[in-house]
């Protein structure tokens, strides 16, 4: 079976964000990009599944040239093949999903893993959209995954617990922290990844359904009051919570 993993590169969460000159995107100079943290669970689960069922793992990313580094990382962890769908400054989940769906279909992948959300535009919907476009089944925010023949049993995180969900291939699984412990790339894996081919092609141009009007940096909240430095401040805190904030 051919398994796809979709990955994206995102600004390091510790990076300070600056708004670009167009007022609609972030200034990329000085930003360190990393692999989207949730995608590491997707890569690991794809590799674990391949180890059980055989087949190969193809890594697909949509983005600028810099995304090649992210693909290379997945290849170093053990994925077999990479595809970069080239497009600059893409934020609209629909466009991303359409381009991914097209490639997944072309590659004939029956099982697809991707992170439950990318930590840049925090949309959390690309997996569901892609599945719906392809007519695949989909389970999102998965913390436990089992494949037996054609049948998938997975657990997804919900408020106050987990849902146990059943479905069948073909399917897209979006991955959440807790699903597995992503492996580190071994030295051998890193060396081998350099010989693996990353196919590059332009992403098909799609029309966006959403439009960014502008991005702003939220105004810093006025720091609050430090009421005291020991337990003697507690009664004043309780009074403020009751009388001023009215929350207890």
């Amino acid at each position: 079976m051919k398994i796809a993993v979709c990955v994206s590169n995102v600004p390091d969460t510790a990076t300070k964000i600056k708004i670009g000159a167009d007022g609609k995107s972030i200034e990329s100079a000085g930003v360190t990009y990393i692999i989207n943290p949730y995608d590491e669970y997707a890569i690991e689960e794809a590799l674990k599944t391949k180890e059980k069922t055989g087949g190969e793992v193809v890594v697909i990313s949509l983005g600028a040239d810099a995304s090649k580094e992210t693909i290379r990382k997945a290849l170093a962890m053990g994925a077999d093949q990479g595809v970069l769908l080239k497009k600059d400054g893409c934020y609209d989940s629909f466009s991303v999903a359409q381009a991914l769906a097209e490639e997944i279909k072309a590659q004939n992948c029956e099982l697809v893993f991707m992170g439950k959300q990318s930590v840049d535009y925090d949309n959390c919907i690309t997996g569901q959209l892609t599945a719906e476009i392809l007519g695949y089944n989909c389970i999102s925010v998965v913390v436990n995954f089992k494949l037996e023949g054609n049948k998938i049993t997975a657990e997804r995180e919900i408020e106050g617990g987990r849902e146990v969900v059943e479905t069948e291939l073909p399917a897209i699984i979006t991955t959440q922290k807790g699903l597995n412990e992503p492996r580190y790339a071994s030295l051998k894996g890193i060396m081998a990844s350099k010989k693996k081919v990353i196919e590059e092609k332009p992403a098909k141009d799609m029309s966006d359904l959403t439009e960014i009007i502008r991005l702003t940096i939220p105004s810093a909240k006025q720091p609050g009051r430090i009421i005291g430095t020991d337990a003697s401040a507690v009664s004043e805190l309780v009074r403020l919570l009751r009388e001023e904030a009215k929350v207890i």
């Binding site: 408020e159 337990a231 401040a233």
Partner: protein, 323 residues
């Protein structure tokens, strides 16, 4: 005839939760502002108080798709039902709550209706007949102002952020029940595993969170006691979850849950950007930390810069007195 704004509300175990009221109230407000007709849709088996809730929030029509097989969530069946109904009534807007269910269902429905979709909105306003949304991006470090181009528009709204307002003129809602014979259970929930009787951070009004400042997992009982007297939930920072002191289900922040309670008490949490991303839209924030320069104090409304081992028990005691 007026175009329709559809409030897609959710039930769990036959009950509506606050997020359902938020969705109805938001749909009603936008309907009034844009000259639309609000309709609510709910899928489930028996649902308590559906008509009453709709009446309270000014929704005059509710459609209840009923099946004993759909008490739990089924992504395939729910998507089929909502998108078919959306097409039938030619809904122009659909509002969901940004819960685990809404976030899963809204994008699927959007594809079926060829709609654009904006997720996790914290503000929706009408500007010259267009709905403009604000949503946090880059973990809350930036706010995106965006709109949907296209005839059908799908929004999910962050729980606990939108106000619920009861309607001034109460018109009794008309509840239409449609029985569903053979739901498409291609993907379905077969069981729900609840975390042992604990209130979830994503649903709590009050959250007491602990971080590395607690020095060890055994000291979390201070956090649990304070949460208990307040009737709140226990949260945790990433550091203590990664260290194995607490379960990931309690983690607040970028790789955990995003929360917006009325009151968030951060104890021994320095306030790394990843943590702030998950809780900065809380209404009131209290920080207890011995380092007065910790970034958490920059976003806290009230702070005590001292020893939490002394302050938390005193706070628990003080609150117990007034409860």
């Amino acid at each position: 005839m007026a175009k329709i704004i559809l409030a897609a509300i959710e039930q769990r175990e036959g009950k509506l939760k606050r997020n359902a009221f938020e969705v109805m109230s938001t749909a009603k407000r936008l309907a009034d502002e844009l000259g639309l007709q609000p309709i609510a849709i709910c899928i489930g088996n028996n649902i308590d108080g559906l008509g009453e809730a709709a009446t309270t929030y000014g929704i005059t029509k509710v459609i209840h798709y009923r099946s004993s097989e759909l008490e739990n969530y089924s992504p395939s069946a729910y998507t089929d039902i909502i998108s078919a109904y959306g097409k039938e009534i030619e809904a122009e807007y659909l509002i969901f709550s940004n819960t685990s269910l809404g976030r899963d269902l809204a994008p699927r429905t959007a594809v079926r209706l060829s709609a654009g979709c904006l997720i996790d909105c914290i503000y929706l306003r009408n500007t010259n007949g267009e709905v403009i949304a604000l949503r946090p991006v880059f973990a809350g470090k930036a706010i995106m102002e965006a709109k949907i181009n296209g005839e059908v528009k799908v929004f999910t709204i962050r729980p606990n952020v939108f106000k619920t307002e009861t309607a001034g003129d109460k018109v009794k809602a008309d509840v239409e029940i449609r029985e569903i014979g053979n739901p498409n259970l291609g993907t379905k929930v077969i069981a729900v595993k609840k975390s042992e009787g604990k209130l979830d951070v994503a649903e709590a009004d009050i959250i007491v969170s602990g971080g590395r400042g607690l020095k060890g997992p055994e000291n979390f009982k201070l956090i649990e006691e304070l949460a208990e007297v307040l009737g709140g939930a226990v949260g945790a920072s990433r550091a203590v979850v990664d260290a194995g002191w607490r379960n990931h289900g309690e983690q607040v922040g970028q790789t955990g849950k995003t929360v917006s309670p009325k009151l968030y008490i951060a104890c021994g949490i320095s306030g790394a950007i990843q943590h702030l991303a998950g809780m900065s839209t809380s209404r009131y924030i209290v920080a207890i930390n011995k380092d007065k320069d910790a970034p958490i104090f920059n976003i806290a409304d009230y702070g005590i810069a001292g020893d939490l081992f002394e302050i938390i028990p005193a706070l628990t005691e003080e609150i117990r007195k007034i409860k």
